[in-house]
Symmetry: C2
Subunit: 498 residues, 2 copies
């Protein structure tokens, strides 16, 4: 059959699958944002049914035949070839899972999540340990199903960050250990910055309005998206023309909303920057979670916690909250939102100690996978690690090993992408400063347009055309290197603390 005809069949099949997957995303979005509580049971069933149909359509042997024919066809252009390659990779991986395993995993996930909820309620890890142990065993089984070299964890990492290996992460987190741990200890010995004024009453509606202003300034397209409230902020998309963010508002803590808006806005710009023509195809999808996170963190930290950004926006913020911020200078505000302080909870951590949280989780995940540690010893190991790297005595399981939902969902290999994102973001931003005339000055005037376009051109529009590693080489001329992050940290935090 003619290659272009075949390619069109492939594209049509992929778009139908995307139609289902995006519908599932809407079912999930609604579940988080609007669904009344009694709707939960049937909703879970509906998501299950649509997921099964999407899976069946994707592993259909007809699609497999088309892909394998296209794989050897010489008549495709570069983008078409890349789409076919990536889809073939996805298809081949998906085909490896026996139906029995998929069904068992669905059940185990649901049970482990329920056990986690119970354990959270009782603030007691032991309630959850045996289900988590079952889950970890299944994840080892999954690694075997998928296949791997050197370390079973590599198989799982690949699900979130294709081509990323234990070897890469070991280098990075060794750097974190060698450089960042001591740097943070030094900060602890300095005079601490004032942060109390962030905990005043900041009325809901004003916070919300300010968040919307910032999203607009970032160039988030409200004709192709919207913001809603959910317990945990997230970004989701139903096409590149409908990319939604959520946030939450704590009236007694200004830190809660603004940077979550900016963070999710960064994710959303990536999705809005994908090309419409690639709907349903790999080139219409983000390349990896690490690169996705590089976008959210670039906006959240390198822009949203920079002095330049607040130079542009602090007077607008003071108009919203004149009394609360009356006596707070822009500089003091900037320092307060960058305060470094070891704490128990990952999602509340500052820009630096955040990576200790990830480092600890990475260390644990890797050892769970190669059986160096056992689930029953996890709480103890966790607490020892927090003592060692953050200098903290974890007071309870809820503030410790039970804090994250990820493992209960079977997401092992996900956490490292958060750190990867931060490290990539600095390397990308440094390059942006080289290529965009007076970027700092523009940011300090609230002119973010050029940066957004730069990111779109360099990253967003390509989807999965290049791997994360290739993208980093293409953009910055070198592989990911922790030194860029560390240099940025020193420059910024020396200014604040030393």
């Amino acid at each position: 059959m003619n290659s272009q005809k075949l390619y069109n069949d492939y594209k049509a099949a992929m778009q139908k699958i995307a139609d289902l997957r995006f519908s599932i995303s809407l079912l999930n979005w609604d579940q988080e944002c609007y669904m009344p509580k009694s709707g939960a049971g049937f909703r879970a069933q509906q998501i299950g049914t649509l997921s099964a149909i999407a899976h069946e359509m994707f592993v259909d042997s007809k699609l497999g035949d088309i892909l394998s024919q296209l794989n050897t066809s010489g008549d495709l252009d570069e983008n078409q070839k890349r789409n076919v390659q990536e889809s073939w990779k996805d298809f081949s991986r998906e085909k490896k899972y026996p139906t029995e395993f998929v069904e068992r995993m669905a059940l185990t996930t649901s049970q482990t999540y329920q056990a986690w909820l119970s354990a959270r309620e009782k603030n007691d890890f032991s309630v959850y340990a045996s289900m988590l142990d079952t889950m970890i065993k299944m994840k080892r089984e999954e690694a075997d199903i998928l296949g791997y070299e050197n370390h079973p964890y590599n198989a799982l990492l690949d699900l979130y960050e294709p081509d990323c290996k234990v070897m890469d992460l070991d280098v990075l987190f060794e750097d974190v250990k060698k450089n960042l741990v001591d740097y943070v200890k030094n900060i602890s010995n300095q005079k601490q910055v004032e942060t109390g004024f962030l905990k005043q009453n900041f009325p809901y509606q004003k916070q919300w309005d300010f968040g919307i202003d910032i999203l607009k300034q970032m160039g988030y397209d409200f004709d192709a998206g919207r913001q809603d409230i959910s317990p945990h902020p997230f970004t989701t998309n139903f096409s590149m023309k409908d990319v939604r963010v959520t946030t939450r508002v704590n009236e007694n803590d200004f830190s809660s909303m603004t940077w979550s808006c900016i963070h999710e806005g960064g994710h959303a710009l990536y999705e809005q920057g994908l090309k419409e023509e690639n709907y349903g195809l790999p080139l219409g999808e983000a390349v990896s979670l690490g690169i996705h996170e590089s976008q959210s963190r670039l906006w959240e930290n390198l822009i949203g916690r920079s002095f330049n950004f607040w130079n542009a926006n602090y007077s607008a913020l003071k108009k919203y909250f004149p009394n609360q911020l009356e006596k707070v200078s822009a500089l003091d505000f900037y320092k307060s939102i960058n305060a470094v302080k070891p704490s128990f909870i990952r999602v509340e951590a500052d820009e630096l100690t955040y990576h200790f949280h990830i480092m600890i989780r990475y260390d644990i995940e890797k050892q769970l996978m190669d059986k160096s540690i056992e689930v029953k010893n996890l709480a103890e190991y966790w607490n020892d690690s927090y003592k060692k790297y953050l200098g903290l005595s974890v007071p309870s399981d809820n503030s410790g090993v039970l804090q994250d939902i990820h493992w209960s969902h079977g997401s092992i290999g996900y956490f490292p992408t958060y750190s990867l994102g931060s490290f990539y973001s600095v390397q990308f931003f440094n390059q942006a400063k080289k290529e965009i005339n007076s970027l700092d000055e523009k940011v300090s005037k609230g002119e973010l347009h050029e940066l957004r376009e730069w990111l779109r051109g360099k990253i967003h529009q390509h989807g999965r055309k290049y791997s994360a590693k290739e993208l980093c080489m293409r953009i910055t001329g070198e592989p990911l290197n922790f030194k860029h992050f560390m240099n940025y940290v020193k420059q910024k935090y020396d200014g604040i603390y030393f």
Copy 2:
């Protein structure tokens, strides 16, 4: 194969199809309530894909085999038999449509709707006439595909109101013509009631809050539903545990919101009253649009526009709007919300003249189907009818033949169910008054619980167990009869106008 095993296979298949159909409903709900405008293109595609999958799953020959085996099985209980019968009817009908016709209809519907939008914009029926003509021809074709006795319109009626025939409707609307037209003329000659105070400023949030109060009083379960804003109020459901209503608020017209809340709330109580165990099965679905509308209208008119209801709620309303209603007595308020006045727009019509709007549409639809009139003469015929029955000269096509979306969607045979609903509602309510001790008194104290339970027991819980006609016989002991509606009208409106 064992009948119960076979029945379980049937049930599982039906529930999967329901999962898809309810997902489509969510895609639609979101489209009306929250979707950003650029999302429209891909959303339409997603709805199309899911619809096609649901259709394919339903007309699958395996399901057909199961149904035909179950059809002749003696081992099913009464409810199971009814489910199978009704599904077989649905299946047989769905199978009649050639794929070519389904695809052509989808295209024609989209084009006719677009033509209607253009015509609305230009306020000119002729822009739309040729597409509507194509649509009408396809509806005649559809009637031929489906088959019918006596009149092609019967085939289309059956889609919305199973077993309802032209013969039934002719009798009803002849009664409308003979009784109601003159009655309304007499009202026109009486002193008109004061309605001006309904057009003051009624702030958004207070209207919203009052609407929520009323929905709660009706017994609408907010744990299994929610209310949102949409341009046109509607009720939709994603299971009996997630039944949502929408409304709209006009700050300068109190009439706009409250009765739409009550109306949609009536629809929603029906859906919330279906039994969970029947999810995905005919017994888990409303029996007909007419019966559905009987529930919305019973609540909207027989409760929501009754003096008893406002006896219970007027003081609460005055608390929300003390200035606006300061000088308005409960009686004057009651009269104003029941003012009878011929007008151009169906959705703004009062409880009586509403049926003239439907009568005219029914007359036109029937004649379009049997070719007694042609589309090109429709505007003229419309205007003549409005002159004849409502005494009004239609000033423009937008206020006339272009006002409704229904025909542009290919919904022919839908309008009569609105009148059927009103007529059924009176007959049901009369019976409720016989069976519920001092119902009027309870309503006048805001005690609506017993009425809701009565409706649930008599109607909601049965789903499609009985046909609409059977249901009416079972509940009221006689077939639908217009005289009950007319008696109600006289009793109520004699009190207001004579």
